[in-house]
């Protein structure tokens, strides 16, 4: 009896194939039940996300049996996908799962979602009664490894999206976002996304200004906010702490003199401008004003990329933790088989 993982991920298979070979939550039960009917398999678990489908088994056979089962289950000829599959036995399977849980096998290195997906896959399989003396300790330890990697290294640190960079920067200026006023120019998708991030991080009042007033009203109502006219922009600048600009205007809307006169009223309270419009909505020299912090879409993207590079540099440390944990797990397994 030994451990084998067979599957495919974003590195080995294109998205069209991954789509076909993914197992929705509703079918998970059937899939596990089907696997259990195979004589050689004593334990099984399926991890299926949009980036991977993996079958973990404790089996007497090798990976080819799982390949046959997959062809059967998905009703796709083996030749179509078998070259995209990987199959790792024993120690390599343990190592692979730990990498997955730690987030270093993910498309976006260090992302946190995968750990939740590993937990869900494990609880689904254990509720189904398809895990036992090998997969239970394996997955429990994998979840611990995932947590350890994120607490002992910087693999999960930093921003993963433009929206989270914006929130992080806002917190470097304002500490807490609660009670802060957010002014949104333009009622486009990008602007909405940015408000969603800020509001879910605690930002208070939302003001929306848009050329078509109805759209402003509609967007404002979604965040319990207030719609304002473009003519009232000046007074809105005096009360707003964060300004998200995303209009499709050809010219800049927020001018240097508007901000400088708003600043006199604000008496040194900073404003954080997030300009995600192209061409930009905020005049470039607004950034020269004291207490005005202006970031455009490229600045935010650069920050996301820098954080991603920082996480990439943490992979080696995570691998050291994994090596340690793999050894621990293999020793545990060995001790147990000696005892029985």
């Amino acid at each position: 009896m030994h451990l084998v993982v067979t599957g495919l991920n974003h590195e080995t298979a294109p998205v069209e194939l991954r789509e076909k070979l993914s197992i929705a939550e509703a079918h998970l039960h059937d899939a596990l039940a089907g696997l259990k009917t195979l004589d050689s398999i004593s334990e099984c678990l399926i991890l299926s996300t949009c980036n991977r489908t993996e079958v973990y088994t404790s089996t007497e056979a090798d990976g080819t049996e799982i390949t046959r089962w997959m062809a059967n289950f998905f009703n796709i000829p083996q030749e179509v996908f078998s070259t995209h599959l990987y199959s790792y036995p024993g120690t390599k399977a343990v190592e692979h799962l730990f990498k997955v849980a730690a987030g270093i096998d993910s498309m976006v290195v260090g992302e946190y979602q995968i750990l939740g997906q590993v937990k869900e896959a494990y609880s689904a399989a254990s509720n189904n009664g398809s895990t036992g003396s090998v997969l239970n300790p394996l997955f429990q330890q994998a979840i611990k490894v995932g947590k350890r990697a994120r607490s002992e290294t910087e693999i999960g640190r930093g921003a993963f999206s433009v929206g989270s960079v914006a929130v992080q920067l806002a917190k470097s200026i304002f500490d807490e976002l609660c009670g802060r006023t957010v002014l949104v120019l333009g009622a486009g998708k990008m602007g909405e996304l940015a408000i969603t991030h800020l509001v879910s991080s605690g930002a208070g009042t939302v003001l929306v200004a848009n050329r078509t007033f109805e759209k402003a009203v509609e967007l404002a109502s979604r965040f319990n906010g207030r719609s304002i006219n473009f003519e009232d922009l000046q007074s809105a600048l005096e009360t707003s702490d964060i300004v998200i600009a995303s209009t499709g205007a050809d010219e800049s809307i927020i001018k240097h003199e508007m901000v400088s006169s708003a600043m006199r009223v604000r008496r040194g309270r900073p404003i954080f401008f997030i300009d995600i419009a192209v061409p930009r909505d905020i005049e470039a020299n607004v950034a020269d004003l004291d207490n005005a912090f202006v970031y455009d879409i490229d600045d935010l993207k650069t920050a996301v990329e820098a954080d991603a590079a920082g996480r990439q540099a943490e992979i080696a440390k995570v691998e050291m933790i994994i090596a340690e944990e793999v050894e621990k797990f293999m020793n545990k397994l060995r001790r147990r088989s000696e005892n029985t």
Binding site: E154, S172, D175, D290
Partner: protein, 272 residues
């Protein structure tokens, strides 16, 4: 006594280095170790002051060395209390360095107490005067540290350098508020120190105020922090402007505390 201060120096210096190192990445154990070193440094520092007090049979701040040691002690105590409450370990580097520098500087100062001035220095006002001034200066030093942090964070945000240091520094708002709280504590302390100093001068020399250089500079210092509080509370102004006043105030403290003790011939010249 001196060896305990040297131990304190070594601990403060290593704490400062560790605090600085933890700015490059946010691994918490470096910070926790730095805090531990800081606490141990404070323990050695405290023992040094106690020994000094026992040797002199009084609160040991009747010379420049003693007052420096006491002021620094107050600074470290305040920092450690604040560190427990807020996430301000970035300031630890500053406090650790200030602690180290004052001990190094103190090591070249004479430790004896000038006997000729002793009668004048003996008054019950003296303890309150010196304690008030020193706690005031320690608070302003922390406010200065927060101001430096503010300026650094502001620069990094303006330059769009979103690096580990930027992420590790407290927010602009947090540092602005911390500086304000420190001045709100330090200002009444300095006021108390100056008033009791005047009362003490009256009993010792028959004059409330003599305009000796130290008195003049501490009055200028007092005016600057009064201006800061006015700007902050009455005008509701904050941000860069308020921060600049804190830097100016700290420069005045340095002038009051250091050069004047070497060059001045006023009543405050003691311990040489």
């Amino acid at each position: 006594m001196e060896s305990t201060f040297i131990i304190a120096l070594a601990l403060y210096l290593s704490a400062a280095v560790l605090y600085l190192w933890s700015l490059s990445g946010s691994t918490g154990h470096r910070e926790r170790l730095a805090t531990l070193l800081m606490v141990l440094g404070l323990a050695a520092h405290t023992i040094g002051i106690v020994i000094m007090g026992v040797e002199q049979h009084r609160i040991p701040f009747n010379n420049l060395f003693g007052s420096l040691m006491f002021g620094t002690w107050a600074l470290v105590v305040m920092y450690l209390v604040l560190e427990r409450k807020y996430r301000i370990t970035a300031l630890g580097t500053f406090v650790g360095l200030v602690g180290s520098v004052t001990i190094i500087f103190g090591s070249v100062l004479p430790k004896n107490i000038s006997t000729s001035l002793l009668p004048a220095l003996q008054s019950h006002w003296s303890s309150i005067h010196i304690t008030g001034c020193l706690i005031g200066y320690a608070s302003f030093t922390l406010a200065f540290g927060a101001a430096v942090g503010y300026m650094l964070q502001e620069r990094l945000l303006k330059a769009k350098r979103i690096n580990a240091v930027q992420k590790h520094l407290p927010s602009l708002d947090a540092m602005d508020l911390l500086a304000y709280k420190m001045v709100a504590l330090g200002f009444p302390m300095l006021t108390l120190g100056i008033i009791t100093g005047a009362l003490w001068a009256q009993t010792a020399w028959g004059n409330y105020w003599n305009w000796d250089p130290k008195e003049t500079w501490s009055f200028i210092t007092w005016l600057i922090y009064a201006a800061y509080l006015h700007v902050r509370i009455v005008q509701g102004r904050r941000g860069k402007w308020a921060v600049r006043l804190l830097v100016l105030g700290f420069i005045c403290i340095l002038i009051t505390f250091f050069p004047l003790n070497f060059i001045s011939s006023g009543l405050h010249k003691y311990g040489w």
